[in-house]
Amino acid sequence: MLGAFDMWYGIGPPAVKKAASEITDSHQVEAPDHAEEEDDEYGAEPEYYFDVTDIQGSLKEAITSIINEELIDEFKDPEEAPTLSDIFAVLFGPGSELAEQAEYFEELISGYEDRAHVDDLKEACNILVSIVDEITPKRA
C-alpha cells in the first residue's frame, strides 16, 4: 500500500519510492487514473487535486489480506467492510495512537468529491510511513 503513493501519485520519501519500485518490478500495473492539472474553458483548477480511487483500492486489498489471514476473530466473516482503524482498534486498543493514526489516514485519503489535495496525500503518506515504522519489528 505504501508503494501506491509513489506509483500512482509520485509522492513519498525514499522508503516509499523503494516500495513502489518493488511493486512495479513484480507486477504489471495499468497506467494510473491520475487527476491531471485541469485547464480548460473554465480556467485552471484552483489547486492540485488527485483522484483517490487508486489509493482507496490499494487499502481495500491490504484489508482483504488481513481478513483472509483469519487472525482477527472479529473480522473472520465480516458483513460490512472493516476500516483499517477498526482493525487497529482490535489489535492495538480502541484509543491507541495507532488506531487514531489509521483513522486520520483514512480521513485524509477519503478526499472530497472523490479527490484529495496533494498536501493531504503527502500527509497521509507520512502517517503511513510512521505506522509501518511503528509496527515493524525492531532488531535487538
Binding site: E38, D51, P78, A81, E107, Y112, E113, S130
Partner: protein, 228 residues
Amino acid sequence: MRSRGNNDASSWDHKSPLSLLDFYDLAEAREIIVFGSRAVGVHRSSSDLDILVVSSCKRRIRIPGVDCVLLTSEEIDDPFWLGSELASHVVQFGNWIKGDGEWRNRVCISDRAIARKQHRVGCVVRNATQRWPRLHPVFHMEYATTTRRELQRLDLLMNGSPIPPTAILDSKWKDGQVSPVDLLELAEVSGCLSTLKSVPEFKMLITDPVSSLHPASRFAARLPLFLH
C-alpha cells in the same frame, strides 16, 4: 477544496476540540452553509456534519464530526466552483447559517462536472475489475454500491439536476425508481461497459436491486415519506 495544513505527520490532532482559532475563523466567515445528509434530515447518528465556509482565511478547520469545505471569496465566484456538482448540491439542499449566498443564482452544472463524473465512474470500474480476484466479498459489494451510486449521480448531472444526499439515492434505487438497464447505458456513455462486463459478478451486483444496497445504506428505508 479544503484549506491546506502542514505536512508534519507528528502534528495531527484531529480529535482536539474546537480551538479558539477555529472559532475565530468561523465567526469571521462570510458564509456558513450546512449541507449533506444533516441538512436534509436523512443522516445517521454517525454522519458527519458537512459545512461549507466562505472565508478570507485558508487555514484548515478541524472539528470532530465536522467535514469542513473551505472556499475563499474569490473561489466562490470561480466558474469551476459554480459549475461543480457540489455547488449545485449546496444550492439545492443547503441551509444557510450565515451569509446570503449571493452566488447561488449563478450556479449551473457544467459539462466539466459531467465529464468529471464519467471519469470517476471509469476509475471506479477499472479499479474494481483489476482488483476483483484479490478483494474480499465485502469489498465487491462496496464497489458495486459505489458504482451504482455514481451512475445515479451521473444520470442526474446529465439531466441538470443537483445530487441529493446518498440516502436519497439509495431510497430511489430501493423503490425501483432507477432502471438497471439505464445504469448500464450510463456505463456505456462513460466508456466502461465492456470493462464492467469482463467481471460478470460485478455487473450482476450493480444491477441487482438487493445486492447493491450496501449494509451501510440500509437506513435508507427509514427516510421520511416526503423524500420518496
